[in-house]
């Protein structure tokens, strides 16, 4: 029998050691798998962990990759803490991008100081509106938000596809499904570092993502709103006793997580693409779910978890390019890394005891 008992106290050294051990184990297991498949293990590991961050501009690109993940996961933390399972961040991201795009394309001559805030607000409202559908259906008709939010993602994918092929298509796009390019005022500019200049793709949205995560952490840990979310997730009956409304909390967290996803969509398009097209997200809305849980639903840890997951993504790309490694193999390696980190998390929080099974357990000894 293997039994897990929660640790009463978690020593700081253990907390710091756990991810290091997890990464070390990932290296060992990963090297073994690469070796078995006929790749040079050391070269493969180099491509995964070192190559993506070997130059300053690459570190900057890591942050760029992590940016949407951090924004979305910071919002999802609220939903998951309240036991509301918003799986549809991908769809909310798309609707946010479309709403912001609507502003940028309809009023292309707005001055910068008006354009940017208007797009940010539109993006958040777009994602929020898409999140409100499962929220209201849940509170009004008790539907399952997991199914509704997930299915709405496919609706969103088809919706943007139709829009950029149909009504919003640039007449000058030679038949490609693309909208016109955004005006300069609608684009998020690159960061100019003093003395260095631009660093990779680093844009101001990254700074926004970090501020957003900090704000989410502050809201969750210090505000009465965050308290409501946590109580509703932990003990809904105690939440009603306290005078909190389950319906209001559901609507609130779906709004926050939807709005965050919508903001991520707006940032992603304005910073990296500059126009709407059928594919604007690379599954960020789904990957962010992993990020949120890897961070144990803590918005500060979301920053680190977002960077780790982004590194795994970029490392996978790098290994595919440099070593012609198939995509599935890089996927397996990413899986091992996440598995080790989450398993390490479990060992960090629980004490594991092994004992031989014996019939005596039948008697209810374990109940005592």
């Amino acid at each position: 029998m293997i039994s897990l008992t929660p640790r009463k106290e978690i020593p700081l050294t253990l907390t710091l050691m756990t991810p290091l051990v997890a990464i070390a184990l990932t290296l060992v297991v990963g090297a073994a798998i690469f070796g078995i498949l006929g790749y040079d293990p050391l070269a493969a590991l180099y491509q995964f962990f070192i190559a993506p961050v070997s130059r300053p501009y690459q570190v900057a690109d890591l942050f760029v990759k992590a940016c949407p993940l951090i924004i979305i996961a910071s919002g999802l933390v609220f939903a998951y803490r309240a036991n509301v399972w918003n799986i549809g961040a991908e769809g909310q991201l798309i609707l946010g991008a479309m709403a912001a795009g609507f502003v940028a394309l309809t009023w292309p001559n707005l001055p910068g100081p008006v354009m940017m805030p208007a797009m940010i607000i539109a993006g958040m409202l777009g994602g929020l509106a898409w999140g409100m559908i499962p929220a209201l259906l849940k509170t009004r008709f008790n539907t399952n938000e997991i199914l509704v939010s997930l299915m709405l993602t496919y609706v969103a994918v088809l919706f943007i596809d139709w829009t950029v092929r149909g009504p919003w298509r640039d007449p000058m796009s030679f038949g490609f499904p693309l909208t016109p390019m955004y005006a300069d005022a609608a684009l998020i500019s690159r960061v100019e570092l003093p003395g260095i200049g631009r660093l990779g793709q680093l844009h101001w949205g990254v700074a926004g993502a970090l501020i957003f995560a900090l704000a989410a952490w502050f809201m969750l840990s210090r505000s009465i709103l965050g308290f409501q979310v946590k109580v509703m997730g932990d003990a809904p009956r105690a939440g009603r006793f306290a005078g909190f409304s389950p319906a209001m909390v559901t609507i609130m967290v779906m709004g926050i997580s939807g709005g965050a996803a919508g903001l991520a969509g707006m940032v992603e398009v304005s910073a990296n693409i500059g126009q709407l097209q059928p594919d604007i997200s690379f599954g960020y809305g789904f990957t962010a779910i992993i990020v949120a849980f890897l961070a144990r639903l803590n918005p500060l840890a979301v920053i680190i978890a977002g960077l780790v997951v982004a590194l795994a993504e970029l490392g996978g790309d790098s290994a595919q390019i440099a070593l012609a490694m198939p995509k599935v193999v890089t996927g397996v390696f990413k899986g091992i890394l996440l598995f080790m980190l989450l398993a390490g998390e479990t060992f960090n929080r629980y004490h594991v005891t092994f004992s031989l099974p014996h019939r005596a357990r039948m008697q209810g000894d374990s109940d005592a």
């Binding site: 505000s223 109580v231 105690a238 006793f241 306290a242 005078g243 005596a360 209810g364 109940d367």
Partner: protein
Amino acid sequence: MIATPRPSRNQSRSVLLNASGICKHFGDFTANDDVSFSIGEGEIHALLGENGAGKSTFVKMVYGLLQPDSGQIEWRGQPTVIRSPQHARELGIGMVFQHFSLFQALTVAENIALALPPGESLADLADRVRRMSAEYGIGVDPDARVHNLSVGQQQRVEIVRCLLQDPSLLIMDEPTSVLTPQETGQLFDVLRRFSEAGVAILFISHKLEEIRALTERATVLRRGRNVGTVDTAGQSSKQLAEMMVGDSVGDIAGQARPDGQTTALLEVASLVRPAGTAFATPLRQISFAARAGEVLGIAGIAGNGQDELMEALIGEWRGRDADVIRIDGVDITREGPSRRRQLGLGFVPEERNGHAAVPNMTLADNALLTSHSLGRVVTRGLVDADATRAMAAEVAGAFDVRLPQENPMASALSGGNLQKFVVGREISKRPRVFIVSQPTWGVDVGAALSIRTAILDLAASGSAVVMISQDLEEIFTISHRVAVLYDGALSEAMVTADVTPERLGLLMGGSAAAAGLAAEAQA
């Protein structure tokens, strides 16, 4: 087996188990400190103590689940190390736990077969169960499926399962905590028959009346130490309680009662609530008034609408009609819990874990749970963490909540301590109207006493208290007036001093007419 009269209390019987100088530490915490205990063959011996006094730790060592750090256990005069529950059962020690471990989908015989060495056919086993059941009047049908059995019957299955292993010592951990009074009576009959047949019974409880009714001797533990072993017949419940708690237990009955003419603070008029689910009880035209300075008891057997009434009073459920619930003349029928608290109500629902408190949150956060609408701790949407922490510490200090560390999780507190906290949290806000359900449910004697005293003090300071309780002793001890909830309807409130327990019992059983006759006969 010849039925002999109940053995007298002399100590001539040979000693079955003798433990001396038992110590057990968990880290810095001393659970058992030099505990000595001895039980003779066929003796019914109580192990008595508050929650956390070290009772469970001690019996776990006797049953081989834990090993003592020092001290010695003698079994039939031989120093013995009880290595495991398996070993304990081989020696002849059986234990019935507070929580059952039965497979609901299997029959009684199948459940018992799983615990016995293989080799016996189910039919033979069923026969043995039937014979044993008849011999001791246990009333267990080996072919019944467990999910069809009541809690009391399931407990008897556990007992039979132990008994088939032919123990000479049977340990029972708080066996009556899950039983109705009738089932408790039946259990005691069965246990007495075992005792006559020579089986010793170690009976763990903190219910003093039961211990006096059943056992011959009691060993009292307090904070891990042996306070003494006494003959139960020579002790009053109050004396036993004093041994358990350590302080002199005051008599809280006979406090000054208000005259009937004070103002009504809480008025409920024709509260009607349809049943929300198939298992809920509808509330039928409930009307009552709670006056300043009094404790209004609402008696009744569980499941007669207590939960539904409590939700309606807290505001977790709200009706559509106006003027049904009023505090100080203000209509609060459609107000939620936060607004009701602002108007001076305080609530303690029956369930501590997950209703009155969030187990996985700190006491400071749990203090915030019922005070976030009252200003002071929340400004512009931000929580003042220092203030909530101070509030929790203040409640803990004023109501003697024993904390394992500073600002612990609610789940780290024992049941009695958490109950003191949730009651203290509300009382310290000096509510004008205090509504509490089962204030001392599952709480040990010392905590129950301090909770009841706090409730009476609050009433004496001019607040109105509504106390929903299934504990008649509690109703009679501290309520000034009492009404009975039966099948969602509430009787007229009566002055407690004028009501006999018989009449209240009849009302609780739904015989209002018979109760009326009893009252006339009494008059």
